[in-house]
Amino acid sequence: MYKLGIDVGGTNTDAVIIDENLEVVAAIKHPTTDDVYEGIISAIREVLRESGVDRGSITQAMLGTTQCTNAIVERKNLAKIGLVRIGAPATTGIPPMVDWPEDIQGVVEDYTVIRGGFEFDGKELAKLDTAAAAEFFEKLKGRVKSVAISCVFSTIRNDHELEIARLCREIMGADVHVSISSEIGSMGLIERENATILNAALYQVAERFTEGFAKSLADEGISNAEIYLSQNDGTLMTMEHARRYPILTIACGPTNSIRGASYLSQLKNAIVIDVGGTTTDFGMIQNGFPRESSVAATIGGVRTNFRMPDIISIGLGGGSIVRRQPDGRVTVGPDSVGYRITSEALVFGGQTVTATDIAVKLGMAELGDPALAAGIDDELAAGAMAAIRDMVEECIDSLKLSSEDVDVILVGGGSIVLPRELSGTAHVYNPEHFGCANAIGSAISKVSGNYEQLIDYNQIPREQALEQAKAEAAKMAVEAGAIPETVEIIEVEDVPLAYCVGNTCRVRVKAAGDLA
């Protein structure tokens, strides 16, 4: 029994095969092609050949893809949709898409705001106006094939959304795609509605990549595998769910990379440093998942409710240019020779002193012709390494939550330029297969359940409320396919509602477990 993990990035398509003990059997990189599926098929063939495993014994296949992000950012292949917002007489002061860039507003062919929705305590805000929705759907019929529905406080109660979704299918036909905001979740009507609109507009993109992936697998004779897609929070969803909620695949790349690094080093709490040719990304892994940024993500100019991993990027990499400044200081980067390193760095016969040359000179790496780096001034080399150390240690310190030493995982091709002993760190790990961390992160992912509710602690004591919320989240994870014994609570958050009488808190719990 094996897992196949694929990650389609901008430059490379990575593929890995992992056995039932989660050991990496084979890992390969293949250039991403214009037709994404050619690249996927080639990567699958290559990893199968390298691993020698029997196609029939692959039982799970996971795909991480940036195609939804790209479609939104490039405004390509987005479908026209209709939008129904349930919430009048509230919300009308903020029309849909009011702050969207003009070049993407066109995805909404037509919208309406109808009466209905709920108050924060679940009371009806207004009686649901089904007649207005029916009239809108009659008008919309034949013009679009996908509809987004949002509703005030649908995270508390989703019955109005479900009722309008049913009506939509009844009038516009059973094959119309309906996206409802409560499935996308999280408080904040506008961000949730924005994500729902984008989700609806992605339905063709989603069809293409889910069917394309399934077909690639079938063509390669992998016919026993359950198919999963990576989500932005580092967990998986089924192909069926991905077809309905493709927006949830947004930004799964950095998440998978951090989780893959964590897996390879077997560390659940550490700082992950991914060093490329030009930049270095620092991320933090907590309990096996990336720490999230506190800022809501903007995708292609549209604000959504998705949380992205908290990442600091600095201009330091294997190709960073080393200079002595007029005042005597030695600097490294932020500019880099980039992919031209193999012709411009000293060790490859070039004329530019790069961070890689310094590493070779100091005996930290063997690359190119070490003799060509031997002539670097000792003082310059020492100064450059000190500068690199300062940059890295400052970032490590910024990410840490306490003064205690933390473990650090180094990944990425440029990681040879970093010193192995860094202050503030306990151990520095440089795991095998570090180049394919993304695909590995995808292959080892868990499935999750997310629970969010406003709870009045005066009615349900906090302890009890949190226990109930944890149980609900765990139940949702099991419903998504997790083995019950493996389900763990990975995030608990409760924030009081400010300026509110009573003791109402917004409670959010996330649980995740291994796939059966």
């Binding site: 509230a90 903020i94 924060f120 506190s294 910024s398 924030v495 509602l497 009488v501 003791n503």
Partner: protein, 366 residues
């Protein structure tokens, strides 16, 4: 008189999040309401206090309730007309202009939406010069203006005018009605004549907000200055600390969001520790146990890279922030002002010492 359009709204919103001093709610939803109203009804006329006749009726506009609820329900847009008619009828005279009561946070934006939808001018003036948690904490209280008559309406059309015997009663009754109405309502309070506004208001605060917003946006492009220097210069701020958040302790006492933020120094402040306490808005900032700033001066936390203000609700472990002090409006520093907003009023056992004196006490005096 000048026009406030979409561009100006962006800058005012950013400046208002700084003047929120950690509280006041994220102006984002307020900004969407202002944008929605301007797109539908056109730009707003911003008039200076001097342009307002002494006997004109000025109607401050604000939201009351939980920002979290506002982020689901927004507003309907018809609330301003309901309030305008109620107030004009009650005062026996048509309202001349609207104004913000609170320049910090979400309440900086609603008067812009109201002015656009009503076709009335907005006065470049408020009653705080920042955000404060309680209703009586406005400069107009110093001037003896009553909070009531106070007009309140929800988006469903339920409305009321309150006449109360004290501000405490106003607060209590209005909060109860707010919760029954679904947790967020539109209000007008401290309705006053032009002459009172001119005597006690914090003048040109909308313009200052706009300038602050524009400065934050432009910190990276200031010739000869680092972004940090550019930010402190433009905001006339005092750099108090730079660090990462290592702990956020929150509790709610049924009314306010209170707590403490603990930070460990980074960069020049490495090895030092700072603490900021808050009650919706930030109350005190101390470094290594020594107070560097207290309310009513503004204590703001901004992102160390972008200088974008961080509200108390968005604070998270590990976030890297700079603590900046801004001088409050002079009237708050008078005896009558401190009676309303002194550190002791907020339960902090210290005399008010102006920010610029306190920062001298420490090593870093910017």
């Amino acid at each position: 008189m000048r026009k406030i359009g979409l561009r100006e709204v962006e800058d005012i919103a950013l400046g208002a999040s700084l003047l929120g001093a950690g509280g006041g709610g994220d102006p984002y939803y307020g900004k969407l309401m202002a944008i929605g109203a301007i797109k539908e009804c056109g730009p707003v006329e911003l008039i200076s206090p001097e342009e307002v006749p002494d006997d004109a009726i000025i109607m401050p506009i604000a939201m009351m309730g939980a920002p979290t609820v506002l982020c689901e329900k927004g507003t309907g847009g018809d609330e301003y007309r309901v309030i305008y008619e109620m107030v004009s009828q009650y005062m026996g005279k048509s309202v001349y202009a609207v104004m913000p009561m609170e320049a910090g946070g979400v309440n900086s934006m609603l008067p812009i939406a109201a002015a656009a939808r009503l076709g009335l001018p907005m006065v470049d003036c408020d009653g705080m010069g920042r955000a404060f948690p309680e209703l009586q904490m406005v400069t107009f209280t110093i001037g003896g203006v009553s909070a009531t008559p106070m007009a309140l309406t929800d988006e469903k059309g339920n409305s009321a005018i309150f006449n109360t015997i004290t501000n405490k009663w106003t607060e209590e009754l209005a909060r109860a009605v707010t919760m029954s109405c679904g947790g967020s309502v539109t209000v007008s309070l401290y309705i006053m004549e032009g002459r009172t506004m001119k005597a006690f208001g914090v003048k040109n605060i909308v313009t200052r907000s706009e300038q602050l917003g524009r400065a934050i946006r432009g910190v990276k492009n200031q010739e000869g200055l680092t972004p940090e220097e550019a930010f402190l210069k433009a905001s006339e701020g005092y750099g108090i600390f730079k660090g990462k958040i290592v702990d956020v302790l929150r509790e709610t006492n049924g009314k306010f969001n209170i707590g403490r933020i603990i930070m460990e120094g980074i960069g020049d402040y490495r090895g030092e520790r700072a603490e900021v306490t808050f009650q919706n808005e930030n109350l005190t900032a101390s470094v290594n146990g020594e107070l560097r700033a207290t309310v009513p001066d503004l204590i703001c936390l901004v992102d160390t890279e972008t200088f974008i203000p961080v509200t108390t609700e968005a604070l998270k472990y590990g976030k890297r922030v700079m603590v900046v002090g801004l001088k409050c409006y002079e009237m708050w520093r008078t005896e009558a002002g401190l009676e309303l907003v002194s550190p002791r009023y907020f339960g902090v056992d210290t005399d008010y010492i102006p920010l610029e004196e306190r920062v001298k006490g420490g090593a870093e005096n910017v």
